[in-house]
């Protein structure tokens, strides 16, 4: 295959890819997944806190992740995602949420439920406070432990299901716990022997209620009251049913974005991108005339490839467009224009040095591409460092920047070089002025080996 055939083939391949890209990304609003800062919603990073009792191991995180997923599902939201970040954090993203406060409460609550015999608490001041019916008495770790019968500890682990109801007598909202058979047996054995004793129902170290045992409870049904509001009771139900987190998860970074706000930002970002693209095209057309047209083609090709790749990545679920991501895209418009200009300048320069249009197109585009790739690789190194090391939203910026740079390199190889060479075959030499191509220097005497065309310093 000669060079020309090869170039024709590459241009045909570009056209095919262009059509494929458009088919993939159009309409972009549906085909490109929007990140949370654009869709609106809650994005929160929860980090497991290591304590002396519990190390944050992979197994612990697996369990915590599962529980968090169940709790998110319990919120009744659609399309929420939970992802592991690093070794000890979870990123939870819930689009379009109405009540972020509620969600944060459910997600972050450790949910460690314990039934504690008040007599067994070693801290007398606390015992007195419980006896005096003070609300929300906090227990100090180490001064108490849950009731344990035959090796079965009465904790959240014995909860099978939970439901919310209103006590007809007191009108108080209660969470009814139904225990597993082991739990029911232990609870039954304990209550049979302990009539008249006070049991503290402790959630995350806080006494929710401290009822007195009036009769033996053998059916494994127990109501937890504690001045709950309906929302709190519902939350407790979810937390109890999904089980206690093996570690406490602390929100490190939380972002709440209203849905209209995100769409406004998206509109501004797209507008900025389009105006930027338009002005760059205008500039190269004015400056490079016909060759500018080639650059416009290159930019359109680049943008189409880019969006096509983003659409494919969205489809397989590895990409969501965020605002920092848009900044990365806008920046790569400049990068793509740059590489295009590098090739054109080199091409024009080689003509000025006395080469024919045809051979200038060949060697000019080759050298231009080498220079661009050098420059692209350096930017790629920075973007990769940012992507792999930094945390938070800037990752989105680094990601689009990297993809953009790769699309730029692809565009140069597939479209820019072959189409310049094809045009140089016949079209450009016919009307050099129209194409903004300079007149070659007339037979520089020793053009070879010197920097021809440069006036003496």
């Amino acid at each position: 295959m000669d060079q020309k055939q090869q170039n024709v083939l590459l241009v045909v391949a570009t056209v095919v890819l262009l059509i494929a890209s458009w088919a993939l990304f159009w309409p972009p609003a549906e085909r490109i997944t929007q990140g949370l800062d654009i869709q609106g919603g809650l994005s929160v990073i929860l980090t497991a806190q290591e304590t002396s009792d519990t190390a944050v191991t992979a197994a612990v995180m697996d369990r915590a992740e599962l529980i968090v997923i169940n709790r998110v599902n319990g919120l009744g939201v659609k399309e929420a995602t939970v992802q592991r970040q690093g070794s000890s954090s979870l990123l939870i993203q819930i689009p379009g949420i109405d009540d972020p406060e509620e969600a944060l409460a459910v997600l972050g609550e450790t949910g460690r439920l314990e039934f504690v015999d008040v007599d067994s608490i070693t801290d007398s001041a606390t015992v007195a406070a419980i006896r005096a019916n003070e609300p929300d008495v906090e227990l100090t770790a180490g001064t108490y432990s849950p009731i344990s019968v035959d090796g079965v500890a009465l904790t959240g682990g014995v909860v099978r299901t939970a439901s919310v109801s209103q006590n007809p007598q007191t009108a108080e909202i209660e969470v009814n716990v139904s225990m597993t058979s082991d739990g029911a047996k232990a609870w039954g054995a304990y209550t049979t022997q302990s009539i008249g004793k006070q049991v503290a129902i402790v959630l995350d170290g806080v006494v929710k209620s401290a009822p007195v045992v009036r009769s033996a409870i053998t059916d494994g049904q127990t109501a937890i009251s504690g001045g709950f509001t309906a929302d709190e009771a519902k939350r407790l139900k979810t937390v109890l049913e999904t089980g206690a987190l093996p570690v406490s998860l602390v929100p490190e970074e939380s972002r709440v974005v209203g849905p209209t706000l995100g769409q406004d930002s998206l509109r501004q970002g797209v507008l900025a991108g389009l105006i930027g693209l338009g002005l760059v095209c205008l500039y190269v057309l004015v400056f490079y005339r016909g060759l500018g047209l080639l650059t416009v083609g290159a930019l359109v090709t680049f943008a189409s490839f880019f969006l096509g790749v983003l659409a494919v990545m969205s489809r397989v679920g590895v990409f969501a467009l965020t605002l920092p991501g848009i900044a990365g895209i806008v920046l790569t418009i400049g990068i793509a224009a740059d590489s295009s200009i590098l090739i054109l300048e080199r091409f024009r320069e080689e003509i000025r040095m006395g080469k024919t249009v045809r051979s200038a197109a060949n060697s000019g585009s080759k050298h231009g591409i080498f220079t661009s790739i050098d420059a692209d690789l350096v930017t790629l190194v920075s973007a990769a460092a940012l992507y792999f090391v930094a945390i938070g939203p800037v990752k989105g910026f680094a990601l689009t920047l990297m993809i953009g740079i790769l699309c730029d390199i692809g565009m140069m190889m597939l479209f820019k070089r072959p189409s310049l060479m094809l045009l140089a075959e016949s079209v450009i030499p016919k009307a050099p002025a129209l194409w903004g191509v300079p007149k070659p220097v007339e037979k520089a005497p020793s053009a070879k080996g010197s920097k021809g065309g440069v006036a003496g310093a």
Partner: protein
């Protein structure tokens, strides 16, 4: 072909850079940088469309919600007045509750508020990661340019990059702009980007070095710059256009990036020609081969 005597005027360019650097370092030392909540922990609440709410009303609403001395600033995006409020709240649940209270008090819909809460330990984490990314970037670039070109190029290129970053940060300190993680990301990008220009110039110098004769290294370097200056100007302009558009039309988050990028691109374009190339040429002329050429052809 242009023929501007950049190298002959290198002392002027060095002087400009020295003054800019002195001012930047001075402002960094005296005024310091204002870091966003991401670095310190706390809550940032932004309201893009503040309606008719005044700063006094907004401040009072936050005070009534139990926040002492909220930092309320006004913003403007495309003619719409809004607010950014910063508080020291590090618990997102509490922050959400406060915002709900404020929203009710100032009669704005709850979804007009964008709330970012960062825990106290997280900021240090973000800062460390950012610094690590910076260090890795610089090291990787040094290595790349050393392998691809030579170490004298890579060191002078890095000097130019440090120059760009120092001046950009200096402007941030001087103008009191807030430094966010986005600013850091933009700075890192400039690092690569400023090198873009420098590499284009170095590429040409390297090429021309192969047939250097009857000329000093400095003269050849000057010609090399002149050969690529139109291209450098055009690439700088085409890179700046989208970034500037982003600065003016892009909304708050994008503006964060665009500001650092615009300053950095501009300074970066200058430093390739004004700092990196002359430093490199001066260094190269200390090599015996080029020192001899200098003796013979200087002043020619």
């Amino acid at each position: 072909m242009l023929n501007i005597d950049f190298m002959g005027n290198r002392k002027i360019m060095f002087a400009i850079s020295a003054v800019l650097l002195a001012v930047s370092i001075g402002s960094l030392a005296v005024l310091g940088l204002e870091f966003g909540v991401e670095f310190q922990g706390g809550t940032a609440i932004s309201v893009v469309d503040g309606g008719d709410v005044t700063t006094a009303q907004m401040t009072k609403a936050f005070e009534d919600a139990g926040i002492e001395a909220p930092n309320v600033q006004t913003t403007e995006a495309q003619g719409v007045a809004g607010f950014i409020i910063r508080t020291s709240e590090t618990d997102p649940k509490a922050a959400a509750a406060q915002v709900a209270e404020v929203a009710a008090a100032v009669k704005l819909p709850g979804d007009a508020f964008q709330v970012t809460t960062i825990g106290p330990g997280w900021g240090a984490n973000i800062t460390n990661r950012a610094l690590m990314a910076l260090a890795i970037s610089i090291a990787a670039i040094l290595l790349y340019v050393s392998v691809r070109f030579e170490y004298k190029m890579s060191l002078t290129a890095v000097v130019a990059v440090v120059h760009d970053i120092a001046i950009t940060l200096g402007i941030y300190a001087l103008a009191g702009y807030e430094v966010t993680p986005n600013t850091i990301a933009a700075l890192l990008t400039i690092l690569g980007y400023s090198l873009y220009d420098t590499i284009v110039v170095f590429h040409r110098i390297k090429e021309n070095t192969q047939h250097l004769q009857k000329q000093t290294f400095m003269q050849m370097a000057n010609e090399s710059i002149n050969e690529v200056i139109v291209r450098s100007m055009n690439t700088t302009i085409t890179s700046l256009i989208p970034v500037l558009v982003m600065l003016f039309f892009g909304g708050e988050t994008l503006r964060d990036f665009a500001l650092a990028l615009s300053i950095g691109l501009f300074v970066g374009a200058y430093s390739s020609i004004g700092v990196a190339a002359p430093l490199y040429a001066i260094w190269k002329e200390t090599e015996p081969k080029y020192a001899a050429l200098r003796k013979k052809y200087a002043g020619a």
